[in-house]
């Protein structure tokens, strides 16, 4: 069975195509969204999801969130003891949890998946995502761009129309824009652009900074470096940001050193502080419109995707950009997973999707570094020669021919780059290729042709050929994302599979426990006492292992906490 997975920075979701539609699958807590969070509890067991998210505040040193931002790097997170994970391993743990949810729902094994990535993810980051799938025991049949997934979900129901729309995807950590055209049943992505470092988390940071600015002096020495304090402020910032969607002002309350610190912020001030972030939203939209060749006013609608687009300041920024109000989809955080489910259905060649075709683009320019000879005879190195321009429809294959520069040159050494700057130093290096050339006695030049092939997942293949001798070479990856060889991959997968994880049916209880702990730390006075009592009762009951009693207690605990602090995150 093949599923579609939205592996998000803040939350992840899984969907499957059945009964003629893309259906989201609930997790063991009954929710469609699973927080992308991993934590290790006291017995060394790994927790994934809501429980881990709660523990971000209470046990920040053994919990990690937002690791999607580190995909494509070799950053290792230490969660205590032998728990050291690379970002793709953390993502694999989340994928495994989703996989288990799907298998429980469908009653059959799940081995293949379509996983979404931000359209603006570079080659390293995409390969890391594919590795994460492999580490979780999933064959990644397709890497789908997130705005394209949303376009699929959106366009599926308008197949007979001819429209152009723009997908504005502001998630937890990344921002993507895609300009999509619908015609004759074809969903064609015209252009994509984005910013890999702009998301809801950055808007949280605005509030966190404001809190520190207002109250930092009263929080003790070096308040920014205290992880415990920082996580508490972050949790409150997240709450306040969501609250500001409904009302203004919102209040952040942080308990520290047995004191309660309050800071309130209103919509106007939030908008003023977020102005630089809102400004950064413009350039990718402009680029996508220009590259797609579509006039802003010819768009039939603006589709908002991603939880962060619920923020009124974002909506009004979009409204000002386009001179009209954007569409209000029912569930912006589910649209991508729905689209991934549709793609899964396409992959499974479901009959209902026979008439649906989608084409996508790759938003990065790819090229090599070259040296030019200036008119005065000096040589300028480090220039970027593009071979595939951005927003070319994928899959695609382009080649360019170059010449040797020095007489009697013996080999040619290419470095492959991804980016838009005219100098390679400002672009991302993907790898290098070296190919020997025959030495020309008379000082003539040798032609070398470089062919770039971009597959449908946005992954790159490079072939270099010297026509004169027939020598060919292929790209060798450099940097953090050299593919693990299969043996090593299998070994890591085994290690992850062998990790002790709480059984699915106890996830609800672990989540409730974690929430109790967090609230205990947060509140003071009478409410703290109440929570403390509930906590010890609940822990005692869990040791008893009477499932009915535990469930009853859990329900009443959650209800009580809802009354005290309002609804939980989701």
């Amino acid at each position: 069975m093949i599923v579609g997975i939205d592996l998000g920075t803040t939350n992840s979701a899984i969907a499957v195509w059945r009964e003629g539609q893309s259906q989201l699958i609930r997790n063991s807590l009954g929710s469609y969204l699973t927080p992308s969070a991993v934590s290790v509890d006291e017995d060394g067991r790994v927790l994934v999801g809501m429980a881990a998210r709660e523990r971000q505040v209470t046990h920040p040193h053994v919990t990690v969130t937002a690791f999607k931002r580190w995909m494509g790097t070799s950053r290792v997170t230490h969660l205590g003891g032998s728990h050291q994970y690379r970002p793709e391993e953390l993502s694999a743990l989340v994928l495994r949890s989703l996989k288990a949810d799907a298998e429980a729902f469908l009653g059959e094994p799940v081995t293949e998946a379509v996983i979404t990535v931000p359209a603006y993810f570079n080659d390293h980051q995409r390969k890391a995502t594919r590795q994460a799938g492999l580490l979780a025991g999933l064959t990644v049949e397709r890497l789908l761009n997130e705005p394209t997934a949303a376009a699929l979900a959106h366009g599926l129901h308008q197949r007979d129309s001819e429209t152009q729309f723009l997908v504005f995807d502001l998630g937890g950590g990344t921002f993507d824009v895609s300009v999509v055209e619908l015609f004759e049943g074809v969903i064609e992505v015209r252009a994509s652009a984005g910013d890999n470092h702009l998301g809801g988390e950055d808007f949280n940071q605005v509030l966190i900074d404001d809190f520190y600015a207002a109250l930092g002096s009263r929080l003790g020495p070096r308040p920014r470096e205290n992880v415990q304090l920082y996580e508490r402020i972050r949790e409150q910032a997240e709450r306040a940001r969501r609250e500001l969607t409904r009302k203004s002002p919102a209040t952040m309350t942080v308990t520290w050193n047995a004191q309660s610190f309050e800071h309130s912020i209103d919509m106007g001030r939030f908008e003023h502080l977020s102005a630089p972030l809102l400004e950064r939203l413009r350039e990718p939209v402009l680029r996508a419109l220009r590259d797609g060749g579509i006039h802003g006013d010819k768009l039939s609608e603006i589709v908002l995707v991603g939880g962060a687009t619920r923020m009124p300041i974002v909506r009004s920024a979009v409204a000002r950009m386009f001179g009209r109000l954007p569409g209000l989809g029912p569930n912006p955080d589910e649209a991508i997973a729905v689209g991934a489910g549709v793609q899964a259905g396409l992959k499974a060649r479901d009959a209902a999707l026979k008439e649906v075709v989608m084409t996508d683009v790759c938003p990065y320019t790819l090229g090599v570094d070259v040296a030019e000879r200036r008119p005065d005879g000096t040589i300028r190195t480090g220039m970027f020669a593009p071979i595939i321009e951005r927003n070319t429809v994928v899959p695609t294959s382009r080649f360019k021919t170059f010449q040797t520069l020095e007489p009697r040159q013996r080999s040619v050494h290419f470095k492959i780059y991804q980016g838009e700057a005219p100098r390679v130093a400002d672009n991302i290096e993907l790898g290098e290729v070296e190919v020997p050339v025959p030495v020309q006695e008379d000082g003539g030049v040798v032609q070398v042709s470089v062919r770039f092939t971009y597959d449908i997942n946005g992954l790159l293949e490079v072939d270099v050929e010297v026509p004169q001798t027939g020598e060919t070479r292929q790209l060798v990856l450099t940097g953090a994302q050299a593919d693990l060889d299969p043996k090593e991959l299998e070994q890591r997968r085994g290690i992850l599979a062998a990790l002790k994880v709480h059984p699915r049916d106890t996830e609800l209880n672990r989540a409730a426990l974690a929430r109790l702990e967090r609230c205990y730390e947060h509140f003071l006075g009478d409410r703290r006492e109440l929570i403390g009592r509930m906590l010890s009762e609940f822990e005692a009951l869990m040791d008893d292992q009477d499932p009915r009693a535990i469930e009853e207690m859990r329900r009443s605990v959650m209800k009580a906490l809802d009354e005290i602090e309002g609804a939980s995150y989701l």
Binding site: G293, E301, A335, R410, V439
Partner: protein
């Protein structure tokens, strides 16, 4: 080719976009990208070609006003179907108040244009405040308005570069034009080019010392400029500054100054390096000689000699070469080695004739001619980059001299005469000048070859330095000679690894023969008396050190020798 485009799409050639699209869409259903990537690539290419032929660039940035776009009438199926992920109908055409602000913005821009054309254009301050007021307009929040306005402003900047030069950065920073990478509109790219040049000029102005900026923006005063050229090599500084200019005359430069410099660079000039050396020597020798002999004459002689050499070099070497290369950009193959036969003949004559005979003088003249020829045809002239190979060549050339001196140290020494001196020096210098070709080949070797060569040369130099310094070590001359000669052959072999056998032999003969030959003449053995021995040893140590440093740099991946 066009036949296959239409046959792939399965339609008759047409200009109707909708027919083309329908054909593409229909075929796409059966040639899906994930199932048939190659088929899809062909189909897509055919589709794009067909579209390109059917229309001229429909993908242009429109400057038409948004009011001209009618609200879409047909997109209202959402209201009927209510699927989970679709969005309800919304979004009418642009709200009226935005259009009014845009109109106002356009009017302000038009007013600005009128002001610039007027007889009394606005001052810099007025222009700045006008521009800033325009940029504050809320109409610019709209993306379409921003795109239109950016281009209009870029156009304005290009039409009035001097007026807007100090103000470009306002627009560039506001809309971050620099970060857009390569594919920007041509007008914006032109503004960025002008801005880059203006920036580099401003950098020059702020840098210390300000002589480069002064040289480019003030009326040229040849005397002052020449003094600065000799003292500070102003010409190289100006050349470096001008290298990165995108336009021939950035705003702020003085046209006459630029013309003077262009003239300077286009013709050979008396070499500042030689003038510097002359000046240095005079300054060093004048006071010392005056104190020693009480007369200024020796110092004046040095100064005069230096000036004669400089002007002579300019007139007899650089100018002829310039004219020569102008007339013939690539000479016949025997040109670079033209010096060799002349010098060979000269050396044989010098060796065989008695002093001050016509033969000896003829030898001297031939040597001079050979030298002249060598310098004339040596590409690039003497640059700093050639100093290292120069010293290398002298060093390597010295090796056999020293060996023979040791071997011959017991034989009676001949008294050198002027022709023999000239011949000897000429041969030595020609040996040096014959090396650049070898050096160029050396540079084109792969790093491992070069490293080996350097290691070998360093070892030889170290060995010779040791021998020279440790005077009482007298190894068996024949053995020593053999070892050193084979080392030299090895260096040549390694350095010329990719030459054919015949080329290698020719070069070997050409570069070694002169050294061996003038040792025969005897002066070699005389020249190297004690103080010169120490100097020679120091020199060899220097060569060894340079080689070791290059080796180390190459191992670390740094330095100019790493490619």
């Amino acid at each position: 080719m066009s036949a296959s485009i239409w046959s792939i799409l399965g339609i008759e050639p047409t200009q109707d976009l909708s027919i083309i699209r329908r054909a593409y869409a229909a075929l796409l259903k059966t040639t899906r990208p994930e199932d048939d990537p190659e088929g899809f690539v062909r189909l897509r290419r055919a589709y794009e070609s067909a579209l390109a032929r059917a229309r001229t660039r429909a993908i242009s940035i429109p400057t038409a006003s948004p009011e001209a776009v009618p609200p879409r009438a047909e997109t209202d199926p959402h209201a009927e179907t209510a699927p989970p992920a679709a969005t309800p109908s919304h979004g009418t055409a642009s709200a009226p108040h935005a259009t009014a602000e845009l109109k106002e913005l356009r009017a302000s821009l038009a007013a600005l244009k009128r002001d610039l054309k007027a007889s009394q254009p606005p001052t810099s301050e007025e222009l700045r405040s006008l521009l800033e007021a325009l940029l504050k307009s809320p109409a610019l929040e709209g993306l379409t308005a921003q795109m239109e306005f950016e281009l209009a402003l870029a156009q304005l900047f290009l039409e009035y570069p001097h007026a807007f030069a100090p103000l470009w950065h306002i627009a560039i920073d506001r809309w971050r034009w620099r970060e857009r990478g390569r594919k920007v509109d041509a007008r914006i790219a032109a503004v960025l080019t002008l801005a880059d040049d203006a920036n580099s000029l401003r950098e020059l102005e702020r840098s210390s010392p300000p002589r480069v900026y002064a040289a480019l923006t003030q009326d040229p005063d040849p005397i002052r400029l020449w003094i600065q050229i000799v003292l500070f090599r102003l010409d190289q500084e100006v050349r470096d500054a001008m290298r990165y200019w995108n336009s021939p005359a950035p705003a702020g430069t003085d046209a006459e100054a630029l013309a003077w410099w262009r003239n300077f660079f286009s013709r050979p000039q008396p070499r500042p390096r030689l003038l510097q050396i002359t000046g240095l020597l005079s300054v060093l020798i004048l006071p010392g000689a005056w104190l020693a002999t009480g007369s200024l004459l020796p110092g004046m002689w040095v100064l005069l000699a230096g000036l004669v050499v400089t002007l002579g070099w300019w007139g007899l070497v650089d100018w002829p070469r310039h004219r020569f290369l102008e007339l013939q950009s690539s000479g016949p193959w025997w040109l670079p080695i033209g010096w060799a036969p002349a010098l060979v003949v000269a050396l044989i004559l010098a060796a065989s004739g008695p002093d001050f005979s016509p033969l000896a003088w003829a030898a001297m003249v031939l040597t001079a001619a050979g030298l002249f020829w060598a310098i004339l045809t040596m590409p690039g002239g003497i640059d700093l980059a050639d100093y290292v190979p120069l010293s290398l060549a002298i060093g390597v050339g010295n090796v056999p001299i020293v060996v023979w001196w040791m071997v011959m140290s017991d034989t009676p020494r001949m008294h050198p005469t002027l022709p023999m001196w000239v011949t000897f020096l000429g041969a030595l210098v020609a040996l040096v000048f014959g090396q650049p070709t070898l050096w160029r080949e050396f540079q084109s070797l792969t790093p491992s070859f070069r490293q080996t060569s350097r290691a070998v040369i360093a070892l030889i130099a170290l060995g010779m330095a040791a021998i020279l310094l440790l005077d009482n070590i007298r190894p068996e001359p024949a053995l020593c000679l053999l070892a050193l000669l084979s080392a030299i052959v090895l260096v040549h072999r390694v350095a010329s690894a990719n030459l054919t056998e015949r080329q290698l032999r020719v070069r070997y003969v050409l570069t070694l023969f002169p050294s061996l030959a003038f040792i025969h003449t005897g002066p070699g053995s005389v020249v190297l008396g004690s103080p010169l021995q120490t100097a020679g040893a120091a020199f060899m140590l220097g060569v060894a050190l340079v080689m070791c440093v290059c080796l180390y740099n190459e191992w670390r991946g740094l330095g100019p020798f790493t490619q």
